[in-house]
């Protein structure tokens, strides 16, 4: 019995020693996610590895708690502080609760940024949004216009009438809709992010606007319901469905032709950009200040606002050409 335990201890020791001495001189960047085992974040980690390979001399520590709790992330942050990593790029479970732990990390000389889901300003150097409201507002109408060269009537199927994000995006969309010739927004209806209600609202749109050419749904629930309603009415290909959706849920509707394209953030690019920004800040090659630019490798540069956040890029467009690669991811 004793022999077995000491043997086990020895192998454990040997293994971990080898592990810890592997990359002594590298810059270590920790990509902390809301929870492990989520496709979206696994994809972000892929992007981070891509950035690390491009930069060279960078070790990515991809980590996070088992479930999406602030307490779990604090334990992870504490262990990263203890390891004296060079940078932490975090998608936060709680924008307030992580602040004390991240402040401590910064006091000990660690570069801290947040991405995807932000931390309150005093807990990070900068925050990277996947996109921005004007970019999203423009993209949702652009996707409709691209497939309607002669223009036509389009309608919006939103979440609830009080949904902050959707209202801002629709407002931004209405600002730029004049740039797309012949596109008429004839109605905005609300499906409350419920599948059945969104489905009925989409049916209502089709019957009350016989000339309808496209439905824009800037919500992942609404876009699926609209695509289903169009398919069930036998109008797939005639009435275009677009907006914001998840590749895994939309793959079938892209295949059937109900939706030609839709958009959402690209998690791979997000992980790539977060890593590039962390590297540049930790190396001192860029500073996080209002109006400043920070390089993001192949994605160009991000410009910071007064509240020290920035938008990565246009929402990424998914269509028949790439949907199959992404439907497995998220």
């Amino acid at each position: 019995m004793k022999k077995i335990t000491s043997l086990l201890a020895a192998t454990f020791l040997g293994g971990t020693l080898a592990m810890s001495s592997a990359h002594a001189d590298d810059m270590r960047i920790a990509l902390v996610v809301k929870a492990l085992g989520i496709g979206f974040f696994e994809a972000a980690a892929k992007g981070a590895e891509e950035a690390a390979a491009e930069l060279g001399g960078v070790e990515i520590i991809y980590t996070g708690p088992t479930d999406t709790t602030a307490e779990g992330q604090i334990e992870v942050i504490n262990s990263l502080i203890a390891q004296k990593v060079d940078a932490i790029a975090i998608s936060a479970n709680d924008q307030d609760a992580l602040v004390p732990a991240l402040k401590k990390a910064m006091q000990r000389g660690i570069t801290v940024i947040s991405w995807d889901s932000g931390v309150a300003a005093e807990g990070r150097l900068m925050h990277l949004n996947p996109s921005s409201n004007p970019l999203i507002g423009n993209m949702i109408v652009k996707m409709a216009a691209d497939h309607l060269p002669e223009g036509g009537d389009v309608a919006v199927l939103s979440a609830s009438a009080t949904a902050t994000n959707q209202n801002i995006w629709i407002e931004e969309m209405n600002k730029v809709v004049g740039n797309y010739e012949g596109i008429n927004v004839v109605a905005t209806v609300y499906g409350d992010d419920l599948s059945d209600k969104s489905y009925r609202e989409a049916q209502g749109l089709m019957s009350s606007h016989p000339d309808l050419k496209a439905i824009i749904a800037p919500t992942s629930v609404g876009i699926v319901a609209a695509a289903q309603a169009v398919t069930d009415a036998g109008k797939a290909g005639e009435i275009l469905v677009t907006g914001l959706g998840l590749p895994s849920e939309m793959a079938a509707h892209v295949d059937s032709g109900a939706s030609k394209s839709f958009a959402i953030w690209n998690p791979i690019d997000l992980g790539y950009a977060a890593t590039m920004i962390s590297y540049n800040l930790a190396k001192g090659e860029a500073k996080a200040m209002a109006g400043g630019d920070i390089g993001m490798g192949r994605l160009g540069a991000v410009t910071l606002s007064d509240s020290l956040d920035g938008a990565m890029a246009d929402p990424f467009v998914y269509d028949a050409s790439n949907i199959n690669d992404f439907k497995e991811i998220f």
Binding site: A9, F12, L13, T16, L17, M19, S20, L36, G37, I61, T63, G64, P65, T66, D67, T69, A70, E71, G72, I74, E75, V76, N78, S79, I81, A82, Q83, K84, D94, Q95, D96, A97, V99, P100
Partner: protein
């Protein structure tokens, strides 16, 4: 003939083992050895482990949970269980956050927290001790109830803006790397040691866990003891809630989700019989430190959380199975 003798020898030994041998064979010693082994492994596995500040940070992995674990140990020893503790934390924290919005300061917040915790415990206690309902059913119910109230009040919002002085509980240092929490942990451990091992209340708790009917007929006021134990657990959950809320600096209804299982694991790993009747406070102390060191050590190696849970599970099964396996082997050898 020889077989009968062997059994006789086991049943009535000629003399008791000497005290040293008894300590060496105790559960606490086994756990302590495991703890030392894990400590040594950690120092070898990561160059960052043996740093006073890092070890100080690591104590946060277990202090708050251990505070509740002491009270939980007594509840489990009495033959009951309280699964609502993490939800009590959520409700207490929400009430404190609400009080902050009304402009209360730190002393008032602490009093409110303790009162709410005690009330939650009393509610559990009334249902279990007063109505005689099974505690596992009652506290699964209140697990949803207490956190449900927190969700109704807060929804997807958060309370923050706690006063500066409130931060001391979860972020303050008493001296050098010694945190306020670790001092509080030590004081609470001593109090519970005295309560369980040096008072008649503690003996009553053990007696109830061994045989409630016999305890009742021996003149022990069984339901009163049980009621007090649940109130005590509620109060300790409130103390943990104060520390955790102070450390986070904000309240969300999802605070401390899943802690009840980690706390029960801590208690069982500490050698407390899950069926009631026996257990010690030193055992729980060691178990808390061992669990804290394991999660921190694995964290330093960036082992994913899910592997950590597997490791804790294996540790639990291993430490519980080991003495039984050893005894079985001995019996077989004796035959």
């Amino acid at each position: 003939m020889s077989r009968v003798n062997a059994i006789d020898k086991k049943a009535i030994p000629n003399r008791l083992r000497n005290p040293v041998s008894r300590v060496l064979r105790s559960w606490e010693f086994l756990l302590f050895t495991v703890g030392v082994l894990i400590f040594l492994l950690n120092t070898q596995a990561s160059p960052y482990f043996l740093d006073p500040w890092n070890l100080s940070d690591a104590t946060f992995n277990f202090t708050e949970k251990a505070m509740i674990a002491f009270a939980m140990a007594l509840v489990i020893i009495s033959g009951e269980i309280d699964l609502s503790v993490a939800s009590i934390i959520a409700l207490v924290s929400t009430c404190m956050g609400f009080a902050v919005q009304l402009g209360f300061d730190t002393p008032a917040l602490v009093l409110i927290a303790l009162a709410v915790g005690a009330a939650c415990g009393a509610f559990n206690g009334l249902l279990v001790a007063g109505l005689g309902l099974p505690s596992i059913v009652v506290t699964i119910g209140t697990l949803s109830l207490f956190r449900g109230i927190a969700y109704i009040v807060l929804g997807d919002q958060a309370y923050s803006g706690y006063p500066e002085s409130f931060a001391f509980f979860g972020q303050g240092y008493v001296w050098w790397v010694i945190t306020f929490e670790i001092v509080l942990f030590a004081i609470i451990a001593i109090l519970f040691y005295v309560l369980l091992h040096r008072t008649s209340f503690g003996r009553s708790t053990m007696a109830i866990g061994n045989n409630p009917t016999a305890a009742l007929f021996s003149g022990i006021r069984v339901s009163r003891v049980k009621f007090i134990l649940f109130v005590l657990t509620g109060i300790m959950s409130a103390v943990a809630a104060i520390c955790l809320t102070s450390r986070l600096g904000s309240t969300r209804p999802s605070i401390a989700v899943g802690w009840e299982l980690e706390i029960v694991t801590m208690v069982v790993l500490g050698g407390v019989n899950i069926l009631g009747g026996s257990g010690t406070i030193p055992g729980v102390v060691i178990a808390a430190i061992v669990m804290g060191m394991v999660t921190f050590g694995l964290g330093l190696l960036n082992v994913p959380g899910i592997v950590m849970s597997i490791f804790i599970g294996l540790l639990l099964i291993g430490v519980i199975a080991l003495p039984i396996v050893i005894q079985r082997t001995k019996q077989r050898v004796a035959r």
